[in-house]
């Protein structure tokens, strides 16, 4: 966690990144969000909180994660030097745990006794169930009934960790509906419950808070690149974007340096003319889950169903900071299809011996498109946000 850098200091006090963000929630949650904002501000400046957070990241999560030079992949694609930021090596297998650790420490600080979370791929649910087990707290994870089917392994993991997995049976029965259910639970049990949101979405202060708990990713990249290449800032950063947490965690410490090109890769599912989850590419500004951001929706403002082979990217919204970064032109957003993601899984597995998560595979597909046009002395960092173990069934089915 770090203070926002000097020139890039969003969100504003009302929780807006330019036109995006804010707080669109039932009145019941307003005092809880104010309390959370105050507790987070206080914790940020409290050395004992910082020590606890960084201590757990080191000794429990296994940070800093490696920055791996992808020698054969770089050679294969024939452009610049590609590094992989190995969030797949985090305890539980994805970056999500950085945020879960930060939020559970806040929950404890605020005296909350009951933890709820939403999950799509199950990675955030597993991360939350993990930290709840570690601190002996009650944990309820909402998960779309359809996702429970396609991410069975993670359901078993959460249950083994002592969490209750509640199926969200409303609407499309995926992440969007799990998030609705989690918010309804929070509205009902707001006095003793802390809602650990899993991405840079939701009402203020969540997008900023979740981001700050993930900027450790980008800051470790700076240090490791300095040591390995003699310069802290690469030419290109690339990450997949579902809600956008792993991407913002990587990008944020570099946003002040305009010579660092940042690329987010969304899921275009069956293709941009079919069912997809390319919110920034094809969505319009709208309000969902407490924030104003880009949204897949029809002309009436009803939220469209997203589709991606990757449950973690199968979401019709996106974090408001990404909406702002797109509008301001600071970050480029591409998209990759289900098929391209499968190609990405194979590419990284075969060239580097690393089986990536299906979410990460979208970033690899984007990388494969841009890397060949880069010069040999250019440095590219790809955020390897998670490992593919959880996806083996889907991957085996698709290959």
């Amino acid at each position: 966690m770090t203070e926002s850098t000097a020139t890039y200091a969003l969100p504003d006090v009302r929780g807006y990144f330019g036109d995006f963000g804010g707080s669109f929630v039932p009145e019941i949650l307003v005092p809880a969000l104010e309390e959370l904002t105050a507790a987070f501000e206080e914790a940020k400046h409290d050395p004992s909180f910082q020590a606890q957070y960084h201590g757990l990241l080191r000794d429990y999560v296994g940070r800093p994660t490696a920055l791996t030079f992808a020698e054969r992949l770089s050679e294969h694609l024939g452009g610049g030097r590609i590094y992989l930021k190995r969030e797949d090596l985090c305890h539980t297998g994805a970056h999500k745990i950085n945020n879960a650790i930060g939020q559970i420490l806040l929950a404890r600080r605020m005296g909350k006794t009951r933890i709820i979370a939403e999950t799509g791929a199950g990675q955030h649910g597993v991360a939350t169930a993990t930290v709840c087990a570690r601190f002996g707290m009650e944990c309820i994870v909402y998960m779309g009934a359809e996702d429970i089917e396609r991410q069975k392994l993670n359901v078993h993991r959460m249950q083994l960790l002592g969490a209750e997995v509640r199926p969200a049976t409303s609407g499309s029965q995926t992440l969007k509906d799990a998030t609705n259910e989690a918010i309804r639970d929070w509205v009902t049990n707001v006095r003793d419950t802390f809602y650990i949101i899993g991405s840079v979405v939701g009402p203020h202060p969540y997008p900023a808070m979740v981001r700050d708990f993930h900027t450790i990713i980008g800051r470790e990249v700076k240090e490791a690149l300095e040591a390995k290449e003699g310069r802290s800032d690469p030419d290109i950063l690339i990450a997949c974007v579902g809600g956008g947490s792993n991407a913002i965690g990587l990008f944020h410490p570099f946003l002040d340096n305009p010579s660092v090109r940042c690329i987010g890769v969304e899921a275009s599912g069956e293709g941009l003319d079919g069912r997809h989850a390319a919110t920034l590419t094809l969505g319009r500004p709208g309000i969902l889950h407490g924030a104003l951001s880009y949204l897949l929706q029809d002309s009436e403002g009803q939220v469209d169903l997203a589709h991606s082979i990757s449950a973690g990217l199968d979401y019709p919204g996106v974090g408001p900071e990404h909406a702002w970064l797109k509008q301001s032109g600071r970050v480029e957003y591409l998209s990759a299809t289900d098929d391209e993601a499968m190609f990405g899984v194979k590419l990284l597995s075969e060239t580097e011996g690393i089986i990536p998560a299906l979410e990460t595979a979208h970033a690899i597909a984007g990388l494969a498109r841009i890397a060949p046009d880069t010069a040999a002395d250019q440095l590219i960092v790809l955020n390897c946000s998670g490992r593919g173990d959880k996806d083996m069934q889907t991957i085996a089915g698709a290959l």
């Binding site: 707080s23 669109f24 929630v25 039932p26 009145e27 019941i28 307003v30 005092p31 809880a32 409303s170 609407g171 969007k176 509906d177 609705n180 918010i183 309804r184 509205v187 009902t188 049990n189 707001v190 006095r191 319009r284 500004p285 709208g286 309000i287 969902l288 889950h289 407490g290 949204l295 929706q297 002309s299 009436e300 403002g301 009803q302 939220v303």
Partner: protein, 276 residues
């Protein structure tokens, strides 16, 4: 700060207060159970003696709603309801009836319709007030600016978690009435023991000075209404009516007249709870 907009809603609530009578507001989802039902359902509610009606603008992701209103919204959307149709139902109803009509729904469908256009068209359709549970009171927000420009009441909500200073702020920005959510929870929730709710309502009632105070969420029967209005200026019933409308329409054996009479009688029964 916006000033309280005088409307047919405020004068209706004022007249009731003068008679020492409490208000009954009824909520029903637009386009539910099907597109043909809404106008008749609205008339039946009116005939039953509701003091005002909230017509729900369906949204795909209604995060303050419990299962009954979630399902009714999904069914209405599947039936093809649109904002334009909802406004047309409102227009048709307010042409025939003096009973104030409000629209209740979520920020996004309003935003996509165009915030300013929405309040303009609501006004010209005879709508007295708008309730958007996920749009927080803020005098600078485009929602509140447009509402005040077109003279549409903005009913704001308070909850048992709302601190006193915020009650003052909400009272300041709310117009028509202040909507007290009975318990922390979603619509259709079981509100449980009445005593703590009544204590909270009395506290809010004492605190606010500009608006009448109406209570909703979990109120299902005339007894519930009678109990709640002992500490508020009126009560609002939604999920219970939506459940009843759904049950009547799903009963193929029930003739349409009887469905509508059942709704009318239910409202009349609830209304009896407001005369103490």
């Amino acid at each position: 700060m916006t000033s309280i907009t005088e409307s047919r809603l405020t004068s209706r609530l004022g007249a009731l207060a003068e008679r020492g009578e409490k208000a009954l507001g009824m909520f029903v989802t637009s386009g539910f159970p099907d597109l043909d039902a809404t106008s008749d359902v609205l008339r039946a509610i009116d005939a039953g003696g509701a003091d005002f009606i909230e017509l729900g603008m369906p949204f795909s992701d209604p995060l303050a709603e419990g299962v009954p209103i979630q399902r009714s919204s999904a069914r209405a959307l599947a039936a093809g309801v649109t904002m334009e149709r909802t406004l047309a139902y409102a227009r048709a109803f307010t042409q025939d009836s003096e009973t104030p009509l409000l629209l209740m729904g979520y920020g996004n469908p309003v935003m996509q319709y165009g915030i300013s256009n929405f309040f303009r068209d609501a006004r010209s359709s005879g709508v007295q007030g708008v309730i958007l549970p996920d749009v927080l009171p803020d005098p600078d927000s485009p929602f509140f600016r447009a509402a005040s420009e077109y003279g549409v009441n903005t009913v704001c909500l308070v909850s048992p978690t709302t601190p006193d200073a915020r009650l003052d702020f909400i009272d300041e920005l709310s117009s028509g009435f202040v909507y007290a959510v009975s318990v922390t929870g979603v619509t259709g929730t079981d509100k449980g023991d009445a005593d703590p709710i009544l204590a909270y309502l009395r506290h809010v009632k004492e605190r606010i000075s500009r608006n009448p105070l109406l209570v909703g969420f979990g109120i299902r029967s005339a007894d519930d209404v009678r109990s709640m209005v002992s500490a508020a200026d009126g009560a609002i019933v939604g999920s219970a009516l939506v459940d009843l409308v759904g049950a009547c329409w799903d009963n193929d054996a029930m003739p349409r007249d009887e469905k509508l009479a059942t709704i009318e009688n239910f409202v009349r029964e609830l209304k009896s709870g407001t005369r103490v």
